[in-house]
């Protein structure tokens, strides 16, 4: 029975990780197609990807959108969580629900809604509109993480700070934010990961400047190539770094 458990575990992880492993392995393919048989190790596809201007521009765009939209989502989520944790309004349950609502809506629907809104208001599609989409996507996450991290200790310390003469801005900046730093960083890096990988909103809400997933999609239309695998590996590495940072920070907090 015990052995069966290990088999199940291996099968589970294999199911999750095998596609990624195959993707990474065939990004080193010394040949024109990222399919078996493996014809030898070559770094030429990685070199090609790294010297591709469009891809590198898209990579920079993705980093910009992920960084800025995550920062905005984090600040908004933190302020909302702080307000709702401190004040008991008659409808605060509903307010919390409303803040979490975008999580329950599919990205496609969100994107269509935002697209309609931008068309109506005459806003041109750009990296900014994609960034707005990513804020909508990540705000519930940031709010939820910040809200869960706020406890009685937090409230007591804020009260003490006010008692000692701190203004509300000083309370937020000198007491609340530093006390919640691990949660804030975890929320930020998770947001960065989601924004970095996000395709649907970015595809529908950008036009000339695009993010990396959109650029990869246009590469895929011209057929399979180990170059796509190489880009995929790079994206994967960046995501792993962000997730690991978030995990480390969350665990650092629990200790």
């Amino acid at each position: 029975m015990r052995g069966l458990g290990w088999v199940y575990l291996a099968a589970g992880y294999g199911f999750i990780l095998l596609p990624v492993a195959v993707l990474v392995v065939f990004s080193f393919q010394d040949g024109r197609l990222p399919v078996p048989p493996f014809q030898g190790v070559s770094l030429k596809w990685h070199a090609q990807v790294l010297s591709d201007r469009n891809l590198m521009a898209a990579l920079a765009n993705s980093a910009l959108v992920a960084g800025v939209s995550s920062a905005v989502a984090l600040i908004m989520g933190f302020l909302a969580a702080h307000g709702l944790a401190r004040v008991h309004l008659p409808g605060s349950v509903w307010l919390r629900g409303l803040l979490m609502a975008p999580m329950t809506v599919s990205a496609l629907i969100l994107a269509l809604g935002l697209l309609t809104l931008f068309n109506q208001t005459g806003l041109r599609l750009s990296l900014w509109t994609a960034g707005v989409g990513h804020v909508v996507l990540n705000l519930p996450l940031c709010f939820a993480i910040c809200y869960a991290a706020m406890g009685d200790q937090q409230k007591a310390a804020e009260r003490a700070a006010r008692d000692l003469g701190a203004t509300e801005v000083q309370v937020l900046w000198l007491v609340s934010a530093p006390m919640l730093a691990p949660a804030l960083l975890a929320a930020f890096f998770l947001s960065v990961t989601f924004s970095w990988d996000e395709f649907i909103l970015a595809f529908l809400l950008t036009r000339f400047d695009v993010t990396l997933p959109v650029e990869i999609w246009s590469m895929l239309r011209s057929g399979l190539s180990p170059a796509t695998n190489a880009v995929g590996s790079l994206v994967f590495v960046v995501s792993v770094i962000a997730v690991v940072l978030a995990e480390v920070l969350v665990f650092a907090r629990k200790r």
Partner: protein, 334 residues
């Protein structure tokens, strides 16, 4: 700096429950006041109103003659030592103590010097670069005190600050708090439900019950001549004998006055002579070191139980009959 406090018919309600009924109290500058009462008596609410954490529904609070209406906690000349200390976990002890000074715009070096001096005052000299999680509960308590005193408040509010400490440490801290208060001269308003703590520290005890002041005065007065039955019972063990005029279950007593009242006698107030209470049979005897505790039933009223403290030398036998006299007593309205 120190200032007096004037609380003028302050009332407060939570929903439909009134927690303070027209409470009025004048506190002199430099006085050590203890608000004493059971939980739910309104003492913490009153402290919150003084600190600016709650608004009184009606009435006024003056601190140093200045009306505090509409003044937020951060702008009041008060600081608070909280029951849970509420230290800032991400700051060192010196940064904690210097926080209020930083908010008042004091420059770094002056702040560090003052924080070090305050830590010295509470017996934590040289520990300024530790963090709150590295020190014990009693030490955190001292840091909270130093932090609150560092900004030289006119009034220091203490919300059951010793409640989380073990008994021995609590008794030691009571003495220290009192000594520090004498040294800095600040008005202290201290909330507790422990009457021994109140007597150990207070210049004046204010006994509260159900949102009203039940009694107030120096510890000796509140203990020996309480003004209400609640206060008499809360300050310590007491024997209560119902009276109707001079008539009681023990028979007629040598007391003047009319109507239903209660004769109150502390266990240690029984003496070889005084107000004669008649004979009583000893039911139980226990030796407590500083005294002998005797439970006795008066022969005239066998259902009544009296608790009598005798000197440790006396050790009466169970079943013996004692002739009881009250050396001192108080008669209160029922």
């Amino acid at each position: 700096m120190t200032a007096g406090v004037s609380i003028q018919s302050v009332s407060q309600s939570y929903g439909t429950t009134r927690v303070l009924h027209e409470v009025s109290l004048d506190i002199a500058a430099g006085e050590f006041i203890v608000l004493l009462g059971p939980s739910g008596c309104g003492k913490t609410t009153l402290l919150n109103i003084l600190g600016g954490f709650a608004e009184a529904a009606s009435g006024r609070v003056l601190i140093g003659g200045r009306d505090m209406a509409g003044i937020a906690a951060k702008d009041r000349p008060t600081t608070t030592v909280f029951q849970d200390y509420a230290l800032f976990p991400h700051m060192t002890l010196a940064q904690n103590v210097g926080f209020g000074l930083r908010m008042r715009g004091m420059a770094g070096p002056a702040r560090a010097a003052r924080a070090a001096a305050m830590l010295d005052l509470v017996g934590l000299a040289g520990r300024g670069d530790r963090r709150p999680h590295e020190i014990s509960g009693g030490q955190r308590q001292r840091v909270a005190l130093a932090r609150a005193l560092a900004v030289e408040p006119q009034v220091l509010l203490l919300d059951e600050p010793l409640g989380a400490l073990d008994l021995k440490l609590r008794r030691a801290m009571q003495g220290e708090l009192k000594a520090i208060q004498r040294r800095v001269g600040t008005t202290f308003v201290h909330v507790t439900h422990d009457q021994e703590e109140a007597m150990a520290m207070a210049d004046r005890i204010v006994v509260m019950n159900a949102g009203r002041i039940a009694d107030e005065g120096p510890p000796r007065q509140v203990y020996l001549s309480p003004r209400s039955l609640f206060s008499a019972g809360f300050m310590g063990e007491i024997n209560k004998i119902p009276l109707d005029g001079a008539q009681s279950a023990l028979g007629p007593l040598a007391l003047s006055g009319t109507g239903p009242r209660v004769l109150c006698i502390r266990p240690e107030a029984f003496a070889p002579d005084g107000l004669p209470l008649g004979p009583a049979r000893v039911l139980d005897v226990a030796f407590f070191g500083s005294h002998v505790r005797v439970q006795a039933a008066p022969l005239a009223a066998p259902d009544l139980r009296l608790v009598v403290h005798l000197p440790p030398a006396a050790l009466p036998q169970v079943g013996a009959v004692l002739n009881l006299f009250a050396g001192s007593h108080v008669v209160l309205d029922a």
